[in-house]
């Protein structure tokens, strides 16, 4: 009898959860300092996380953060594992075919990063070098479209901070990344001191889109309107500026 009860107790610990309620499930990829990352004790933090919390306050729902690997962000959204993606996801034509976006909440360009002393005059000048990119990102599209075609070795990684790990160990010669992210997550740290940003600011719309927005499933017009209004509200009432200044010395909202 005791064993039976134990088995039932053990079995009920392993139950399927049904998703319901007024919580807003927000997907984040916490490997993208300073936009989305975790403190040592596991709390999500960063620009995206703070903006998400501010927006949730505006629309009066509770933010529940769900971690997700970057290249399965959109499939996870379509599988209804979460309601929105607030993780520096750029609004591009390709992505708009699958999901919907709100207006942008920031826009920063991408740059190429290589070791100091490497003369960079364009993609062809780093032919033969190994460049790491985040799988499923706009930078990967750019690298495959412009760098791989001229002979640069492009290696996709699961998470941006794993790119930095391999740059530090010497397996990679550089990366293409959002310039704010690479500054905050790599160049300002001890292992990034021998690397620098090269080349022009990349705003090419065909690859990089028109800024980072909040991703959601198609057909959620009410949620989209709510969040757009909330973005305008926090831009107007100063909370956006407060969060912006906490992480950056300039306005990331961009053009």
């Amino acid at each position: 009898m005791k064993k039976l009860l134990l088995a039932i107790a053990l079995g009920s610990v392993c139950a399927v959860s049904f998703a319901q309620g007024k919580d807003l499930k927000v997907a984040i990829d916490p490997t993208y300092e300073p936009f989305t990352f975790k403190t040592a004790d596991g709390k999500p933090t960063g620009f995206d996380v703070d903006i998400a919390s501010a927006l949730c306050e505006q629309i009066k729902r509770k933010c529940v953060f769900v971690e997700q690997v970057w290249d399965s962000m959109i499939p996870g959204l379509q599988a209804k594992k979460y309601d929105v993606i607030i993780s520096s996801m750029s609004i591009t034509e390709d992505r708009l075919k699958a999901i919907d976006f709100t207006d942008k909440y920031y826009n920063t360009p991408s740059r190429v990063v290589v070791k100091k002393g490497v003369a960079y005059t364009g993609p062809a000048s780093i032919k033969g070098k190994k460049i790491g990119v985040l799988k499923g990102s706009t930078q990967e599209k750019y690298a495959m479209g412009e760098l791989k075609t001229v002979g640069v070795e492009v290696i996709p990684y699961e998470a941006q901070d794993q790119v930095y790990l391999d740059i530090k160990s010497g397996r990679l010669d550089g990366t293409v990344a959002d310039f704010v992210e690479v500054t905050g997550g790599f160049l300002s740290k001890p292992e990034g001191k021998d690397y620098n940003l090269v080349g022009p600011e990349l705003y090419i719309e065909k690859y990089f889109g028109t800024g980072a927005g909040i991703g959601m499933r198609k057909g959620e017009a009410a949620l989209k309107a709510e969040l757009n209004a909330a973005i305008k509200a926090i831009r107007g009432n100063g909370s956006y500026k407060k969060i912006n200044d906490k992480y950056f010395k300039f306005d990331v909202y961009g053009k």
């Binding site: 079995g11 610990v13 392993c14 959860s17 998703a19 599988a79 209804k80 594992k81 930095y164």
Partner: protein, 228 residues
Amino acid sequence: MSAYYTAILQGSVLTVGVSLCALLVSIVLGLAGAAAKLSGRSVLVALATFYTTIIRGIPELVLMLLIFYGGTIGANNFLEWMGSEATVDINPFVAGVLTIGFIYGAYMTETFRGAMLSIPKGQMEAAVSFGMGRMQAFMRITAPQMVRYALPGFTNNWLVLIKATALVSLIGLQEMTYLAKQASAATRSPFEFFLFTAALFLIYTTVSLVVLRRLNARYSLGTKRGTL
């Protein structure tokens, strides 16, 4: 830095949880499968054989990805088709437990089948002649003896199952391996964190071995081993 280690230790609780729940599922499936294979009815035997053959032919990772990514979409499509508004979210814990339980159910089927076959048939006949029902005979005669015969194979399966839980990190469950990977990328020191996680796994397998050896001794009381 030490906060990362504490987080990994907390993740180890999830690892133990996944492995124990998966063990439960695999024991249930193993008993069912063994019963099916020994029942003699061709449909059941064919089903059980199909189950054990397919499982050994597909990697655990592929099965896990199929159930985690495909299963949620499939379940939601099914609910939509039924006209329900509810959404089911198969979280990584459940997906991991179901997958690992399902896979090791196949291995347990073989172990339990071998164990049941090792019990002398005369004992079943004697039980029936006493008027015991099928369930009674199973609980009183078959099950206790089966434990002794099944233990070596069971121990093996359990140890492999523990290690398979590391794969659940690849579908996003925040157990030891996942937290170690995140910590190592964030602090750029993978060696320390992965070594720590490996040591935790080693402790887990060693403790399991000790417990299962004790169990073996308890269930072998009264049996005689031939001396060489």
